[in-house]
Amino acid sequence: MSTVTADDVAVAVRPGFWTRDRKVGAGAVLFGVVAAALFGALATGADARFTISEDAGGAAVAIDGTLGAILFGLIAAAAGAALLAGVPTRWFTPLLGVAVVGVVLSFLCWQVSAAPAGQNFMPLVNIVRGTFILALPLIFGSLAGVLCERSGVVNVAIEGQLLMGAFCGALVGTIAANAWVGLVAAALGGALISLLLAVFTIRYLVDQVVMGIVLNLFAVGLTGFLYERLMQPDAAAYNQPPRFEAWPIPVLSDIPLLGPALFSGTIFLYLALVLVVVIHVALFRTRWGLRTRSVGEHPTAADTLGVKVLALRYRNVLLAGMVAGVGGASYTLALYTFTKNMIGGKGFIALAALIFGRWSPTGALLAALFFGFADQLGTYLSAINSKIPSEFLAMLPYLATLLAVAGLVGKVRAPAADGKPYIKG
């Protein structure tokens, strides 16, 4: 956060007893105890079965609902207590992870055990696979954000890039009757929005957030207009995109649980996972990555050392557009035909994932998976007639990000020069 308030400074200078770790620990204890008490009381004595398959059959982990809810709640509380006791800071992330997973499992034990008879099971394969499918556009989108923002250009236009990618993928893919051509077109479509973003923010110094917002609206309008003019009247000619079929990887796809979820997806799943690794390595282990990060943190210093700041920003923003465009195509070239405004806010969840994942590719992946899981959980819970309104689950990514930027779950810090145009001189 670029704006430092007076409180911030005070906290940084003199931590006192209530450090961030202790505050979070206290929160975790509270949540854990409440989960144990509340979910434990609400859960039924029926077994909550977590099956490693797509239905009720197959191997399963079963636990008594009440027992599970209380047990996992207490585990979360214990992790919180450890944080509260003041363990070294390196334990912070694992313990926080344990606490979160504990509360989630406690919640699931209640929900699954309280489901109507015969539905007291949670097919983990479905859940994991659904999580990855729902997380796909988020992974691509947040990677696009990483590429842009690490080099100092705020990318609020992820939504527009995804949408343009989806549209171009569908349109060109249909006309060419070839999914690969569609994929290339999708990348170029995302890059088109990126190009506008880059030219206007880097060349004309328009504020990056303003430009991002306007470009989102532009993309919604443009794709919506062309959809109504071309695709709707003649869907067969313009909106019947070819599909990439699932490619199960031999051997690996036979691994229980992970195999069906991770190794029998479409090209987009593999591409997303490969991109995470590639961008991570490139960002932290290559010359390009060092330059990108230096341009995002201190462009003047980078310029002094001979890095072409503006050229690098152009290149990264365009790359980001291509990545996001491919992410948009993961809708139209694998799942659905194009519809108006079909991204429906995923671009903003991707932005949230980027921030929640602290501007790192792996962090973005984990955040995207977490948000995808929340999404999938909503679908599952409404399928078992849960009393939890799906709307509140849908809020979860946004609320989590709010907590993250408010510094309640650790401090997130953007690249120092993120959002600041660079004027040479």
Binding site: M1, S2, T3, V4, T5, A6, D7, D8, V154, V156, L196, F200, Y204, L205, V206, D207, Q208, V209, V210, M211, I213, V214, L215, L217, F218, V220, G221, L222, G224, F225, L226, Y227, E228, R229, L230, D234, K340, G345, F348, L351, A352, I355, P389, E391, F392, A394, M395, Y398, L399, T401, L402, V405, A406, G407, L408, A414, D418, G419, K420, P421
Partner: protein
């Protein structure tokens, strides 16, 4: 007389090179010292002259020759008109957007495109059909937004009533009213150095509370409307306060928090519609009960025309925000914080308090905008899409209005007109309403990059740097 007239140059202030070139032109034109001193005064009163301009003005000699005065003024006027000032850039941005819109209409029309297939053989076909498609669309845009000549003719001939004549204006004002509020919400925060992307969420909360107050509270007519409006403002203020508070206490960037709160509000709206007591009992789809008649904004021109009291409130709000910004202590503090938070803090202004207040007031304005959507004539019940896009459009309106209250009101009027005309364009010329979104976005893109418009039209540069577009502060 030769070295007099460097002072007669009111417009350019930033670029010394250009000022120099200008000075040369003016002195070769043998202009009068009279005009020179007049304009020199203008420079002084606006108080924005660069040191260079100021010295030139004071160095201006005594007036002797009055003959060339009028001619010079005219030249300067024309030159200023064609310089990249706010009005010129805005008009040209609209023209550019309409041109691109026309291209979109042509390339997306299969019939017209077919004529381009034999362009070389008969170019007139392609040109005629393109012209027909574009002019049909834009003529309907105009007829739907301003006035339909046919209706005027009917009225004069006595075959039609007066309502059809004013119907387009009525529609325009109806669509403009909520945009004024959300535009003001965005620009007020802008002036305080905050980028309020959350007008959508704030308007959503406003819509919810206004509607709840509208059908849950049994109150007498006038009181009911006031209470419902206040409830809407309160809902928006609450949402704005949340962002302002997070910003002030934790430094969380308001762009991120407002985006997130937008979606929280959207899902909250989706949830509350289907709750018992809110959901319309006789309906299966997601729609709430209707707001009581006593809580609805009265229509201004009778039942046939949709324009309602909201537009009057919008003008009042514009005046109030203008007063707040330019005449009140809070407004001064707000602008000081917006210009430079550190300096404002040094001067003893509480930056945190200002942030919270600004966001709460901005939220209240957006909330009122939301109330307009459910208490006015666009809808009387909550649906998932009841807020439409007024929050996001408000951002565009604020930018187009150069974040100044009366500018925002004019920009909202333009956007309202585009919306109203777009409806007619969709039904009469079968050009999708989405074109309006494209036009709106394009206009703002061009507005935001005056340098681009300048380059395209070969304008002289002028005072556009004052447009306060840059909020470049990063996350």
């Amino acid at each position: 007389m030769t070295d007099v007239n460097t002072s007669g140059v009111p417009a350019p202030r930033e670029n010394p090179d250009r000022e120099h070139a200008e000075a040369e032109k003016v002195s070769t034109a043998d202009a009068s010292g009279d005009a020179g001193t007049t304009n020199g005064d203008a420079v002084h009163t606006t108080g924005e002259a660069t040191p260079l301009g100021a010295t030139a003005a004071t160095a201006g000699g005594a007036p002797t020759d009055r003959d060339g005065g009028a001619a010079l003024l005219l030249t300067l006027f024309v030159r200023n008109l064609w310089s990249a000032n706010t009005v010129t850039v805005t008009v040209l941005a609209i023209v550019l957007a309409l041109v691109i819109g026309a291209i979109l209409i042509i390339v997306s029309d299969p019939d017209v495109l077919a004529t381009f297939g034999y362009l070389a053989a008969r170019p007139s076909d392609a040109l005629n059909s393109s012209w027909a498609a574009v002019s049909d669309a834009y003529a309907n845009l105009f007829k739907g937004a301003v006035v339909d000549p046919a209706a005027v003719r009917d009225w004069i001939n006595g075959t039609g009533g007066w309502q059809p004549v004013f119907a387009p204006i009525s529609e325009t004002l109806t669509y403009a009213a909520p945009l004024v509020f959300t535009g003001l919400a965005v620009s007020l925060a802008f002036r305080g150095g905050l980028f309020n992307i959350g007008a959508q969420g704030q308007a959503t909360l406003g819509v919810i509370l206004a509607a709840l107050a509208g059908f849950l509270l049994p109150l007498p007519p006038v009181v009911h409307l006031i209470v419902a409006l206040l409830a809407g403002a309160l809902g928006g203020a609450l949402w704005g306060f949340a962002s302002g508070f997070l910003k002030a206490r934790t430094g969380a960037h308001e762009v991120i928090t407002t985006i997130m709160l937008n979606y929280v509000a959207t899902y909250f709206l989706a949830w509350i519609i289907v709750q018992d007591g809110v959901h319309a009992p006789d309906r299966t789809d997601a729609i709430s009960r209707s707001v009581d008649g006593s809580a609805q904004l009265p229509r201004l021109l009778g039942g046939d025309l949709r324009v309602h009291l909201g537009i009057v409130l919008a003008v009042a709000a514009t005046w109030a925000v203008s007063w707040l910004l330019n005449r009140s202590t809070l407004g001064f503090e707000l602008r000081a914080v917006g210009a430079n938070p550190e300096a404002a803090r040094t001067a003893g202004i509480s930056v945190a308090r200002t942030y919270v207040l600004v966001m709460a007031i901005a939220g209240a304005l957006a909330g009122l905008g939301g109330s307009n959507m459910v208490l006015g004539s666009t809808a009387t019940a909550l649906t998932p899409l009841v807020v439409a896009q007024i929050g996001f459009d408000g951002i565009l309106v604020a930018l187009l209005g150069r974040v100044k209250p009366w500018g925002v009101a004019l920009a909202a009027l333009l956007f309202g007109a585009l919306q109203a005309g777009g409806n007619r364009m969709q039904s009469y010329a079968s050009v999708s309403l989405e074109l309006v979104t494209v036009l709106q976005a394009l206009i703002v893109i061009f507005i935001a990059a005056p340098a681009l418009v300048k380059a395209i039209f070969g304008l002289r540069a002028a005072r556009v740097a004052r447009a306060q577009m840059s909020m470049a502060k990063g996350w």
